[in-house]
Each structure stands twice: as C-alpha cells, then as structure tokens.
C-alpha cells in the first residue's frame, strides 16, 4: 500500500547544491576544496556581507564531491537568504576570481539527487555535462 506524506509545517533546514567555479585559460573549471577550507571561505563570505550576525550563522558542509566539484550545504531556513546572497557576492578564492554557482536549493535533501534543469533529452545519462572541461 502506498501512503502519502504531507509536511505540514515549514521545513527547518534548506539544502543547497553549489559548485565553485574558476576561469582558467578561457575555460571554466571547478575548484575542489577540503571541508575546513570551504567552511572558512563560506564564513568569511558571510562575514564580509552581513558582519558578525552573518558570521554567527551555522552552515553545515554535508558533502564535497571530488569528481564533480559539487558541494552540499545545509542552513536554517531563516538564514537561507543571507547565505545565498553571500555566496553570490563571493568573488575570489586565494586571490583568483571565482564564482559560486548555486545549482539547486531545496528544503528536502533527496530532491538534490536529480536536477531537472540540467537534464536534457539529448544528453546521454551518466555522461558528464559539457559545461566543464574534464580534468
């Protein structure tokens, strides 16, 4: 028997899937960071835009995918706007210009498993997207 589950209240957390990008010789490449470095980068970005209040936001790094550069973050839903705007404003990593491309945002971690926007009927499943150069 199938059953239907409805979440009645506002979800407590939001999950973000993002990729740190960098331009190298005219092509876009993703940056892979260790968790600690990534966390400090994010906290710095938050502090830069929102000050101490921003730095007090708890952000959890759930995953750092080494093969695709994807990062999954978790924040309290009340802090989502602050975190996302800080990621938008983020402009350099170690002195080189970079961009944090937020791919997906969802209140459910499971829905980050599939990206409806990146899906295209032409591309064969399992193949890496053409956007990134394969390193």
């Amino acid at each position: 028997m199938s059953s239907r589950v409805t979440a009645k209240q506002k979800s407590e957390y939001y999950y973000l899937k993002c990729v740190l990008e960098q331009e190298e010789n005219g092509t876009i490449k993703y940056i892979v960071l260790e968790r600690v470095k990534l966390k400090s980068l994010i906290v710095n970005a938050l502090k830069q835009l929102h000050g101490l209040v921003g730095a007090a936001i708890t952000v959890d790094v759930l995953k750092c995918e080494k093969t695709s550069g994807e990062i999954i973050l978790r924040v309290k839903s009340s802090d989502l706007i602050k975190l996302r705007s800080s990621l938008t404003i983020l402009n350099n990593y170690n002195g080189t210009p970079c961009r944090c491309n937020v791919k997906q945002v969802s209140p459910y971690l499971m829905s980050l498993a599939a990206d409806s926007r990146a899906w295209s009927p032409v591309e064969v499943r399992g193949k890496q997207s053409r956007y990134y150069e394969q390193s």
């Binding site: 996302r84 938008t88 404003i89």
Partner: protein, 278 residues
Amino acid sequence: MASFGDISVPYQNDLRVLMKYISTLVNLGYETIAINRTVSPDVKGKGGQDKIPGPPNLTSLPGLEDLKKTCPKLKLLSRITVIIEDQQQVRFIPGETVQSYDIVSVQPTNEKLFQQISQAVECDVISFDMTSRMPFYIKHPQVNLAIERGVSFEILYAPAIRDESLRKHTITNALELIRVCKGRNVVMSSGAEQTIELRGPYDIINLGLLFGLKPDQSKATVSRNVRSIIYHAEARNKTVKGAVSLEKMPVPASSVKRGHENVEQSKESDLKSKKFKV
C-alpha cells in the same frame, strides 16, 4: 513564465570574447541577452551624431549556431546607453543611429536632466551610475512619471561583486531607488567586466530580496520587467505611435501566376519595409 534576461552585457570588439559572455549567460540559464554599448556623444564638435556607432551585427557571431542548438529560444538584442551630462546632448536620443538600436537607455547625471528625461525623452530604460554617491535624490514625481510612460529603471549588480566600496554604494543606491519606485519597473542586469562576474538568475532574485524587493517583484526584475522593456522598445521602434505596425508577408503561391500584379505587390512591400518616420 517570461524567460530570464540580462540586458547589459558590455560590447566587446573581439567577437570571440563577446561570444564567451553569451555562452556563459546561456549556461547560467538566461535566454534574452542584450549587448550594451555606452556612449557619451560630444556636443561641440561637428557631426556628433555620426560618431555614435551603429548597432553591432549579432547574427554572424562565431559559434552562435552551435549555441542556438543547445538553447533554441536564445534572443540577442542590441542596446545603447547614452550618458547625458549636458542638456544639449538630449537631442541625440531621437536621432536615427540611436533609435536603430533595439533598446535605448539613458543615464542622466543631474536632477534637471533626470526630470527632463522622465518627462519627455523617448527611451526604454533609465540607468544611474550607482557605483558612487548619487549626486541627487531620486524623487517620487519624476519616477512616477517615468513608470506611467512604461520606462524602467536599471540596477547593475556586477559592481557589487567586483569591489567592496562599489558594493556599499550599489546597495545604498539600489535600496533608495527601490524605496522610491516601490519595486515597480526595476530590472537587474549584470554590466560585468569579466565573465566570472556573471551570476545565475536565481542568485540575482535572491540578491533583490537584499535590496528590499518582495519575492515576486524580485523575480520580475530578471524576467517579466525585461520582457516588458522589449515590448516597450518594439512599440517605440516598429510601430506608428504604438498603434499600427506593418509586417512583410510571404507572397501566397496563387498570386505568383499573375505576373504583373506580383511586381506591383513587391514594389508596395518594398515601400512598406522602409522604416517609418513619424
């Protein structure tokens, strides 16, 4: 849903660099892209009008065909921004070169000029230099006049990403502008100097929340308002007083048989295809 658009990609002399901007924007999810050229025509010298370059040819960019395959809805437009520092420069705007661009935008530098532009000048977008302290206050009456005429206001976000002091000024000026126009008729576009400064449309929508917009207004700044600018521009450019427009129709096969009539028709359509001057 209206597609996402960025109406301020700076024109590059190197077409390959320009193409890089376009492909990055397409990858981020934009479908309407306007290539912007900023000019400040000289009043004193003769032939200031001639010095304004015509709209760039956007159909023959290298690699555009391949990009069209991945994004068939891609729409490229040309846009001109005229920086106005002097009352006399206003006369360039109804000129033929400026009006031949798809989107015409004006950047006033003082309050008097802003008053004049919002009242009478034929343009689609009013932009301000938001990277420094505004030299004048944006006031309700002028803004309301512009909004009534369907003219939009522009916020550039790339300076906010580039540098800390620029960011400070951009945020203050954007907050001020949005307070005055109550979130109506605002567009946010990049104005990026590097491709890495471009951001995805949903990031910009989120940034709009920080500028004091409501979520729905914020979404409109990159989608609905951009579309309305394009329609406003088309009404200005391709119609007579916004009421009548003429289009070239393919000649139906049945009329091809009657030779002499066909010649007449093509003559007529040639006349029609010439640009209307009002």
